[in-house]
C-alpha cells in the first residue's frame, strides 16, 4: 500500500475566471525595484529553450544570472533537435483557432491530467512567443506574400504550428541562445559550459545554490544565489534507447528530489509513433521522424498476417490503413499515444513489416503523386535525408519503416502555478517540470511550453520570491553549503571505488530493457512489481560491480555517464511505483488491466483525477504520495475520442 500524505498539495492557482487568472496573479506578485534587481543573483541550470530564454529575460530585467550546461556550448541543448514546430493560437490561417481551442486541445490531448489554469496561461502567451521569436530573427517558414506559414500537427483540427523547415527547435534555440549570448556579452550573465549540477544547496529549507562539477577537470564548486531555476530537460534516457540526446539525464532533478522537491507523475512518458526502428544491439539511440510527416504520409501494414512482400508488391486493396480505419475523424493525425499503441497492436498481432516485423509503413506515395516530389522535398527534405542516411533506403522510392520510441517525459518536478517547487526558491521550467501536458503531450507543445515558461512566466514569479526573501547572501563557507559539497564529492569517490567488472553502458542498457519491457507502452501490475525488483537488483549490481575507468580529476566521460546511470537506477524505481499505483490508463500511461472493449485507455476519474507528487524517503524506501486534486471546470471530463 502506498503511504499517502494527509494534506493535499496546493497548486496556488489564482482566483477569478480562467481568462483572468494570469493577470490576477501578476497583479498580486511583489516586485523588485529596478535598482535593487542587480543586488540579486539567480542561478539557471540548463540552457535549452526554457533555460536560455529564462536566463536572457532575467538578465534583461537586471538580475545577475549564472547559467550552467553540460555541453560545450548553450547552443547544443537538446532542444536543438526538435524538428516539427511550435504551436500558437494566432489563427493566422483563419481556420477557427483561438486561445480557447488551443487550451481545449491541450487539456484533452493530455487526457485530463493537466492543471487547467497552467494550460490556459500557456495558450494565452503562445502568440507572444511567436512575436518574440520573429523579432529576434528566427527564420520561420513564410508564404510567398511574406506572411508566416502554418501546418497541422497531431491532436488538432486547425493549422496552428509554426515551423522552420524540419529544424524548428534549432532555430528557436538559436534565437534564445542569441538573446543569452547578448547578455553574456553585456556581462549580466556568466555562462558556465561543461559543468554538471550535482546537488542542490538548501539553507533553512530554502533553495540557495547548487554544487557543480567541472567536466573538463573534475573540480567541484559551490555557487550560491537568491533563487535556483532548474531547466534541465527530460529523463527519457532512463529507457537507454530514446530519441533524446545521449546526455539527457535525470541527475539535476533527482538530486533536487532527494533534497525534498516532490517528483510528480514520473510514469507519464510519451512514446512517439514515428521513429526509425531498432536495427541492431549496438544501437545507441533512436531517431525521430517528425510527426509533421503524418500530414502527408499514410500509415499502413499489410492486411495479411506475416505478409513479407516488398511494399511495392502489395496492391492497394491488400493494405490496411489502420489509423484511417479506426479513427476516421483524425485519421493519421491522432495524438501520439493513440498512434503508438495502434502500431504496437498491429505488430503484436503479427502484421509488422521489415526484417524484425517491429515496424509499420509510413508511405508518401500518394502525397508525391498529388503534390510532386519537389513539394515534398521542400517540406521534409532534411528528414528524408536523415532517414536515407540511417537506413540506406530512399523514402522517395519506398515507404519509411517506423516504430514507436520513447520521446518525451510529461512527468517532472512538481511545481505550483508560479512554477515554484515545494522547496521555496527552487523553480522548475520546461520539460523538467510536470505542469502543462498531463498524461500526454501534443506535438509542437513542448517548444511552446519551454519558451512560455522562460520568456513570459519566470520573469514575473522569480521577482516575487526575491521580494519576499530579501537580499541577504549565503557564504560558500556556510555549513549547509559545505555539507552538500562533501556529499557530492563522496558520491564520485564511491563510484570510482567500486572497481568491478561491468561497464556503465552495459548496466544502462540492461536498465533500458527492464523499462521498455515492463514499464513501457503497456504495463501490468505483475510486470511493474517485477520491474521494481529487477531495478533494485540492478542497482546492487551497479554498486558492487561497476567498472569506471580513469580518475575524478580529469575529463572523464565514463565517470560522467556513471553518475547519471546511478541516478537513473534510483529514479527508475519511483517510475515503476508511480505506474503501479495509478490503477487506470490515461494518455501515455497504459495499464493492460484498464482498457475498453475496443482497446482504448480507460481512465478512472473518480479515483485518479490528481497529480501524484512523490516525496523521497531514502533510497529503496517507499516514497510518500502527495495528491494535488485536479479540477476540470472549463473542459468537462469526458472520454477522449478521436474517432
Amino acid at each position: 500500500m502506498v503511504q499517502v500524505a494527509e494534506a493535499t498539495l496546493d497548486g496556488r492557482i489564482p482566483d477569478g475566471p480562467i481568462e483572468q487568472k494570469w493577470d490576477n496573479r501578476k497583479s498580486e506578485l511583489k516586485l523588485v525595484s529596478p535598482n535593487n534587481k542587480r543586488k540579486y543573483e539567480v542561478i539557471v541550470v540548463g540552457t535549452g529553450l526554457a533555460g536560455a530564454s529564462a536566463a536572457a529575460s532575467l538578465a534583461e530585467l537586471g538580475y545577475n544570472v549564472k547559467a550552467f550546461c553540460f555541453q560545450d556550448s548553450p547552443r547544443r541543448a537538446h532542444s536543438i533537435a526538435a524538428q516539427g514546430g511550435i504551436n500558437a493560437a494566432k489563427n493566422y490561417p483563419n481556420d477557427g483557432d483561438s486561445i480557447w481551442r488551443l487550451f481545449y486541445d491541450t487539456v484533452k490531448g493530455g487526457d485530463y491530467r493537466a492543471r487547467e489554469a497552467n494550460v490556459y496561461r500557456l495558450s494565452q502567451v503562445s502568440g507572444s512567443i511567436i512575436d518574440q521569436c520573429v523579432a529576434q530573427g528566427v527564420p520561420f517558414a513564410r508564404e510567398y506574400g511574406g506572411l508566416l506559414a502554418n501546418r497541422t500537427f497531431g491532436g488538432a483540427q486547425v493549422s496552428r504550428t509554426f515551423y522552420a523547415r524540419g529544424q524548428t527547435g534549432q532555430q528557436l534555440l538559436l534565437g534564445a541562445y542569441s538573446a543569452l549570448m547578448r547578455q553574456v556579452g553585456s556581462g549580466k550573465v556568466k555562462m558556465y559550459p561543461r559543468q554538471e549540477m550535482v546537488d542542490l544547496i538548501k539553507v533553512d529549507g530554502v533553495a540557495r545554490g547548487i554544487v557543480t562539477r567541472d567536466l573538463t577537470n573534475g573540480k567541484f564548486e559551490t555557487h550560491t544565489a537568491h533563487a535556483v531555476v532548474l531547466c534541465t530537460g527530460g529523463y527519457g534516457n532512463v529507457f537507454y534507447l530514446s530519441t533524446n540526446a545521449k546526455g539527457c539525464n535525470v541527475t539535476a532533478a533527482w538530486r533536487c528530489h532527494k533534497r525534498g522537491a516532490l517528483f510528480a507523475n514520473p510514469c507519464y512518458t510519451q512514446i512517439h509513433p514515428t521513429c526509425i526502428p531498432v536495427s541492431g544491439d549496438y544501437q545507441s539511440k533512436l531517431t525521430l521522424m517528425s510527426e509533421s510527416l503524418r500530414n502527408d504520409g499514410r500509415v499502413w501494414v499489410p492486411k495479411a498476417e506475416g505478409d513479407a512482400r516488398r511494399a511495392a508488391d502489395i496492391p492497394e486493396g491488400e493494405r490496411d490503413y489502420y489509423l484511417e480505419r479506426r479513427y476516421p475523424a483524425f485519421g493519421n493525425m491522432v495524438p501520439r499515444d493513440v498512434a503508438s499503441r495502434a502500431a504496437k497492436e498491429r505488430c503484436d498481432a503479427g502484421f509488422g513489416v521489415g526484417a524484425t516485423q517491429q515496424a509499420v509503413f509510413l508511405d508518401f506515395k500518394h502525397a508525391i503523386a498529388r503534390d510532386g516530389e519537389a513539394t515534398i522535398r521542400a517540406k521534409y527534405g532534411n528528414l528524408f535525408h536523415m532517414y536515407h542516411k540511417i537506413t540506406d533506403e530512399d523514402p522517395y522510392q519506398v515507404p519509411m519503416r517506423i516504430y514507436p520510441a520513447v520521446h518525451y517525459t510529461m512527468g517532472g518536478l512538481w511545481v505550483d502555478y508560479n512554477l515554484q517547487s515545494n522547496v521555496p526558491g527552487l523553480f522548475v521550467l520546461g520539460e523538467a517540470n510536470f505542469s502543462d501536458h498531463g498524461a500526454n503531450r501534443l506535438g509542437a507543445s513542448a517548444l511552446m511550453q519551454g519558451l512560455a515558461d522562460g520568456y513570459f512566466v519566470i520573469p514575473y514569479t522569480v521577482g516575487d520570491h526575491m521580494a519576499r526573501h530579501g537580499q541577504e547572501k549565503v557564504s560558500n563557507d556556510h555549513p549547509e553549503v559545505r555539507a552538500s559539497l562533501e556529499e557530492a564529492q563522496g558520491r564520485v569517490s564511491k563510484i570510482l571505488g567500486v572497481a568491478g567488472f561491468r561497464s556503465v553502458d552495459s548496466i544502462h542498457r540492461e536498465l533500458g530493457q527492464i523499462m521498455w519491457n515492463k514499464v513501457g507502452m503497456s504495463r501490468t501490475a505483475g510486470g511493474l512489481k517485477s520491474a521494481a525488483e529487477d531495478i533494485q537488483a540492478l542497482r546492487e549490481v551497479f554498486w558492487n560491480d561497476v567498472k569506471v575507468m580513469g580518475t575524478g580529476e580529469s575529463f572523464n566521460q565514463n565517470l560522467e555517464h556513471a553518475g547519471r546511470v546511478a541516478d537513473f537506477l534510483e529514479f527508475a524505481e519511483l517510475f515503476a511505483i508511480d505506474a503501479l499505483h495509478r490503477e487506470e490508463s490515461c494518455g501515455g500511461h497504459f495499464r493492460d488491466e484498464h482498457q475498453t472493449d475496443d482497446n482504448e485507455a480507460r481512465r478512472d476519474d473518480e479515483n485518479f483525477c490528481y497529480a501524484a507528487g512523490w516525496e523521497f524517503q531514502g533510497v529503496g524506501n517507499e516514497p510518500v504520495l502527495h495528491k494535488e486534486p485536479l479540477d476540470f471546470n472549463e473542459v468537462p471530463l469526458t472520454t477522449r475520442s478521436y474517432k
Binding site: H78, Q132, L147, R165, V184, K246, F456
Partner: protein, 256 residues
Amino acid sequence: MSGQGMELKLQIWRQANAEDKGRFHIYHLSDVSPHMSFLEMLDVLNEQLITLGEEPVAFDHDCREGICGMCSLMINGQAHGPDKETTTCQLHMRRFSDGDTIVIEPWRAKAFPVIRDLVVDRGSFDRIMSKGGFVSVNTGNPADANTILVPKQDADRAMDAAACIGCGACVAACKNASALLFVSAKVSQLSLLPQGKPEKAQRVLNMVAQMDEEGFGSCTNTSECEAACPAGISVSNIARLNRDYMCAMLCSEEGM
C-alpha cells in the same frame, strides 16, 4: 552478425589533457557491422577498451542526429569524414570497407585547444556570438509577428544560413583555420532579415574583431570550408559578409 562484419585498423589521436603532447594509438576492431554509425563503432571500441582496463577514447557527441554540432572528428583527414553534408554522428560504417585503416583526429586549430583525445574547446565560437550574433530586442511585447513581412526568398536564404550547427568543421577543414564561414552564416542570416538591419554594420565589425582576437586565421578563398560543412552553408555567405564589412568600414561611424 558475428563473423560477417568488417575488420578495421583505427589510428586514433590520444592526448591526456591540454598540456600533454599527444600521440596516435593503433587499435584493431573486428566484426564491425556496416549498419553502425561511426560513433557506435567508437562506442564498441570503448566497451572493449574498458574490458581490457584501458581508458576509453574521449569524443564529443550528444544528439547523434546531425543537429547539435557537438560531434567533431577529423576522419582520414576530412572533417566529419567522406560523406557530403553529413556529420560524424550520421556517417555510417557502410561507407568503409573490410581491412580499411581509419585515421581519427580532433579538430586542429589554435583557437580550438584540445581538452582530451578528440575533444576540443570551441568556446571561441560563443565569444564571437556574444559580440553581435543577435538582434538587440528584449523580451516583452514586440509587435504582432505578421506586421514584419519577409519575402519568402529572403526568409529561405536566411534559413539556409541559419542552418549552421556551429560544429567548427569549417575551421578544421581550412588550412588557415579561418572561422569566416561560421561568422558569415550568422551575419548573413541577420542582414537578410529586416529585423537584423539596424545593427548590420556594428554586428559585422564586432564579430570579425572578436574572430581575429581568438586567433582564427584569415580566409584565402579555398572553399574547403564549404566542402566540409555538414549543414551545406555556402561560401556566398562569406561574399555577403565581405560586402557588409566593407560597407560598414566605409559608411559607419564605428568603422572610422
